[in-house]
Symmetry: C2
Subunit: 317 residues, 2 copies
């Protein structure tokens, strides 16, 4: 489909829909932003998607749009673009979102899971451009992932591949939301990271983190830990270094399984600074098989908030 020069990318989020016209070179020409209205059910959401696309189409100015790509939370069945059980969407068990949007705009429409979409964005336009094989990690509220194999997304036989947040790092470890024990997400996901920080602030009241939240530990969250870390706060750096080390353990298990050498990390928490990437890399190196150790690359994602639109458009570009 490389003859398609422009496509619409829809980043369907839990609270906001961001839509843009994207060129095959990865340039975003027009952009719109609408509330998702997920609490009002599938019809309302589809109507909002329609509006968001209509708005950018006004700016299409003779550009031939080759298709529509949508990145969505939940489990996505490629066939018909069926989206299953997206968290925080009301009355939404299983909806053929792709078919619905295709019917409205009469354009080739593809839907993909949001973590996979972000991975595709980095592969086509970002940090993964020169890497045909990489593991993409999105480290924020939770820990998600996508596997780019030979330049394409690896979905697995059931479309759910890349759940690296639920790789176990300690079989006797912390209870995870998913029901299992010791998932890496249960150690380094946003909520857990904040909890552990609050715990440790008790014995380290001089930490800058406490300053940044005005002494109110209920306000502790990764953005403050991150800010403190960037300013050199010892506790903040310790917390992120430990988190990066744990992420590296999980990544090591994955790399040993699929024999990849490149990891690209995006998501809010990854913005904490280079030392986090160093910690991840060192930990990965100490857990992968010997022949891989000198050949490990850990890179920050490049596309930030645009990854959703770019990767979604990338589905049809």
């Amino acid at each position: 489909m490389s003859h398609v020069r422009y496509a619409i990318g829809v980043d369907l989020g839990g609270t906001t829909i961001k839509t843009g016209i994207v060129s095959s070179a990865g340039k975003i020409f027009a952009q719109s932003k609408f509330p998702t209205l997920g609490e009002q059910g599938p019809k309302a959401v589809i109507a909002q998607i329609r509006r968001s696309i209509d708005e950018v189409l006004v700016h299409a100015k003779g550009k031939k749009i080759g298709g529509i790509g949508i990145g969505s939370p939940g489990i996505v069945d490629e066939k018909g673009g069926v989206v299953k059980d997206p968290p925080n969407f009301a009355d939404w068990h299983s909806v053929a979102l792709g078919n619905a949007v295709k019917k409205i705009f009469k354009l080739n429409t593809r839907v993909e899971n949001d973590a996979n979409v972000a991975a595709i964005a980095e592969a086509k336009f970002g940090a993964g451009k020169r890497h045909p094989n990489f593991l993409f990690v999105i480290w924020g509220t939770g820990v998600g992932g996508g596997i780019i194999l030979d330049g394409s997304i690896y979905r697995g036989p059931f479309g759910g591949a890349g759940e690296i947040g639920h790789v176990c790092v300690d079989y006797q470890g912390l209870q995870c939301n998913c029901g299992a024990r010791g998932c890496v997400e249960a150690y380094i996901g946003q909520r857990y990271l904040s909890q552990r920080t609050v715990e440790r602030l008790k014995s380290e009241p001089a930490s800058l983190i406490l300053n940044l939240v005005g002494g109110d530990v209920s306000k502790v969250e990764p953005k403050y830990i991150s800010e403190a870390a960037l300013k050199g706060d010892v506790l903040a750096r310790e917390i992120f270094t430990e988190a990066g080390t744990l992420l590296g353990v999980a990544l090591g298990s994955v790399l040993n399984t699929i024999d990849f050498r490149v990891v690209i990390i995006g998501g809010g928490i990854s913005a904490a600074g280079g030392f986090v990437f160093d910690a991840v890399k060192k930990s990965v190196q100490s857990h992968v098989m010997k022949p891989m150790r000198d050949d490990i690359t850990v890179l920050p994602a490049k596309l930030g908030n645009s990854a959703g639109i770019l990767g979604a458009a990338g589905l049809v570009l």
Copy 2:
């Protein structure tokens, strides 16, 4: 290559070379067995492979042989059939084994890592015949694996995929031979399993295991633990149940990553009995993502000692 009806399969082991003529239906027609002579260097080993093939060719009786497949320890580079650093082979850093054998017999020759070969055997002729996607585990001295994706072996970009023995189950855990900490192999590989059994026999001297080794704990090895377990010995069953549970933790991490649902387990220790498979399955189910839990299949491998010859022949059948 499905027009090839007969092929030669060579199972190159650390001590023995087993070779056979195999039909495309998975029947072994003639078989030979020679010492590997790995301690004498590559030339000696290649000469032994030649002898083992010559011997089965005598029985070929007009069967048109379509090629030669070789399963080898070490890291295998498909191109040229280069075998790197096979353990316990003297003077063998990197040898183009495939090209050498091809030159002798003027037949299409392919070489593959032995764990992958066993996975291919199960896919073509064994427990994996009806499963286009499965994770193959070989549980013996160490813990190895192979990934069958869409009916073919997944080698990964560097040919080393499937090292599931080095999936971490405890980041603060036992030191593994590979240099990393907490690899599942460090808990359930043969040597570790025996060690832990010896430890526990101290407080459970009534165990049948002690009987089976004539009271000499230095003789404790999985085959005796397995024998005791099959006879209902409580300690033996506990040890294998714990080991199966740990294997399940590692497998859960892998299945979450690649979204597979089927695991096939071969190798010596897997012969301990059905209860081991039950323990593995239960543990996998408690570690995979919810939508996968009711859909997990854990099967014993079917081909036993013939897997090496069958899978090797399968490389060219």
